[in-house]
């Protein structure tokens, strides 16, 4: 059976896809967006720093009581905290955690959310109703509360933080994937491959997925900042990464009592965190404008 007949013509020329992306309008629109490009460079710089940095810096958990609360200067570039630990090393170690959570939670929520969304949008019926209901309930649940509850049961750790933020993100991704799938389900090319008797799994993977994935990816990228923020929030209230391990959130919490005498202890990790979430927002906005993706109104009904 010549199933390739049913493929949209542009999908038969796979090898060209990279060149096509480079010559596309969205790519051009994105690269001409200065703010988004600067933010992207900054994010890559931070990423490189937190991956490579900890190999060259001192141990972020080693305390030196003779050097407590030293201001930023020649000896310690970003100063030291209340236990005399090197702030630079801790900021780098904390950044690893934040970015790891953002990346992992995005990956996990994309996998699960897209799967659930596509299947429920394609199948419809009872399954669709059930999944949509669960999404609604989860969406109306504050992410922070969700994280706190998960933490109450399993203790705060990197794993529970990733799990909690993923659970909170799955419905967002799922709704988008579902909306896209419902939009293209009645199209001729989908009806065509169904008529050809192609297995559903293949239809979903090869024909539905490529056509709905762009907005999902674009909005997920923009959401990564919010995930880093959620990690920091959870760690700040003590429901995330547990001391002595560094996270931007728990650094702020531990440093807050010393605010008056050593402002740099809570302010530096907070500033870096803010700059990272801002950069994610700018990149996300840039991508959204470039790909002309309209944000779906996320409408939890609060029940």
């Amino acid at each position: 059976m010549k199933s390739s007949l049913a493929l949209p013509i542009d999908m038969q020329k796979r090898p060209l896809i990279h060149r096509r992306f480079w010559n596309s309008d969205p790519r051009r629109r994105f690269t001409s967006n200065t703010l988004a490009m600067v933010s992207l460079c900054w994010l890559f710089a931070v990423l490189a720093a937190v991956i490579v940095g900890p190999w060259f810096s001192v141990d972020p958990n080693v305390a030196d009581v003779t050097a407590r609360l030293k201001p930023p200067g020649a000896d310690f570039i970003l100063g030291t905290d209340q236990l005399g630990r090197d702030m630079l090393a801790r900021v780098l170690a904390g950044g690893r955690v934040s970015l790891l959570v953002a990346v992992m939670a995005t990956a996990v929520s994309l996998t699960i959310g897209v799967f659930l969304g596509v299947v429920s949008g394609y199948r419809g019926g009872f399954l669709d109703d059930a999944i949509t209901r669960v999404f609604d309930v989860l969406l109306s649940f504050p992410t922070l509360l969700l994280g706190i509850i998960v933490m109450a049961a399993f203790g705060g750790s990197l794993f529970t933080v990733i799990a909690a933020t993923s659970i909170a993100t799955v419905p967002m991704v799922g709704r988008l994937a579902r909306a896209g799938t419902i939009g293209i389900r009645p199209r001729e090319y989908i009806q065509g491959v169904i008529a050809l008797g192609i297995p559903t799994s293949r239809i979903l993977l090869r024909h539905v997925l490529p056509n709905i994935i762009v907005p999902v990816l674009v909005l997920s990228t923009g959401n990564m900042g919010r995930l880093a923020l959620a990690e920091a929030g959870l760690s700040y209230v003590g429901a995330g990464i547990q001391p002595p391990d560094a996270s931007w959130g728990n650094m702020i919490a531990e440093g807050q009592p010393y605010l008056q005498y050593a402002w740099w202890v809570p302010v530096i990790p907070g500033t870096v965190l803010t700059l990272v979430t801002l950069a994610f927002s700018f990149v996300g906005d840039g991508l959204r404008d470039a790909f002309d993706v309209r944000e779906l109104v996320v409408q939890g009904d609060g029940t």
Binding site: M151, Y236, G238, Q256, G270, T274, G300, G302, T303
Partner: protein, 308 residues
């Protein structure tokens, strides 16, 4: 109208569902609440005694039954840590949290309405760019970071506001900084939505018709486009309320304000199940309350909803 009724009818069902999930999740944890209440060196007999007092020695199904029956009668149980009824503890801190949420909403409105309209009126001008910049910052700045910066600058350096805690009610001065933090965070997303909705409405045919009839631009923006745009803005605002209630816990922690957040964290620290479930249920009631408020607003703003 039907939507609101449905919501009110569904509320107890949802709350009980959440309470059951909470019960299951928290009892998965191996830590004994009794252990956390006492020192490590006390004898096992004392510990068993305390567990018996708290009703923790009974098998889980029986604890569960007691909990559900209590819940159905509106009894949230007694806190392990404080030995007081949870409902009393919650009622004690409720005014503080309600004041924070209400003032946060007010600040958010004060910021959103003018900025949204100005940004739409001067689309792509410098003012619009500045407002859009503020919007992105408002959404991206962590509330606990903004809170700390306010404490540092307004509190320690300028001595304008108290550093933390809560004064005797009405505690206006203690409320300023937390309300600003909460309001700015909420205003970020709602301003963005209002601006986008206004621009959408301004593209509609009825606006062109109004312009053709020579109605002045201000009236068009405020009366014709504004009303239409507020409908969608209010919807998104309601959807964001879950996030706002989450921020309330954070803001209360930053400013060491007594409130639901503080109760929740105390509960978590001592594995105090009645306290945890009680405070989470009340927080969820807030989410639903704000959503219901949004529905009522919908009725007021949009005559189409009233007829349906």
């Amino acid at each position: 109208m039907k939507v609101i009724l449905k919501r009110i009818v569904l509320l107890p069902v949802v709350l009980i569902g959440v309470a059951l999930i909470l019960f299951a999740v928290i009892h998965l944890s191996p830590t004994s609440p009794a252990q956390l209440l006492i020192a490590d060196y006390v004898t096992p007999e004392v510990r068993a005694n305390i567990e018996a007092k708290l009703g923790l020695d009974q098998p889980l199904p029986i604890q569960f039954e007691k909990y559900v029956v209590g819940l159905a009668q509106g009894d949230l149980g007694d806190s392990f840590r404080y030995r007081d009824p949870v409902s009393k503890l919650l009622l004690d801190v409720l005014p503080s949290s309600v004041a924070l949420i209400a003032s946060g909403l007010v600040v958010a409105l004060i910021i959103t309405l003018p900025l949204g309209f100005l940004a739409a009126r001067f689309k792509n001008g410098w003012l619009d760019t500045a407002i859009r910049g503020f919007v992105v910052c408002g959404v991206s700045i962590p509330s606990f970071y903004l809170g700390i910066v306010l404490i540092l600058v307004l509190g320690f350096y300028l001595h304008l506001i108290p550093i933390s805690g809560r004064g005797t009610p009405p505690d206006f001065w203690h409320l300023i900084a937390p309300a600003i933090v909460l309001g700015v965070n909420t205003a970020g997303s709602s301003t963005r939505v209002l601006r986008a909705a206004l621009l959408d409405s301004l593209n509609e045919d009825y606006i062109r018709a109004a312009r053709a009839r020579g109605i002045n631009e201000r009236a068009i923006l405020l009366k014709l486009a504004g009303r239409n745009a507020l409908v969608s803005a209010v919807t998104v605002f309601g959807a964001d309320s879950a996030g706002m209630i989450g921020s309330v816990i954070l803001v209360e922690t930053v400013f060491a304000r007594p409130g639901l957040g503080q109760l929740l964290f105390t509960g978590l620290k001592y594995h105090d199940f009645p306290l945890i479930s009680g405070s989470i249920l009340v927080l969820l009631i807030f989410v639903v309350a704000i959503n219901t408020l949004v529905d009522v607003l919908h009725l007021v703003i949009d005559p189409r909803v009233r007829q349906a």
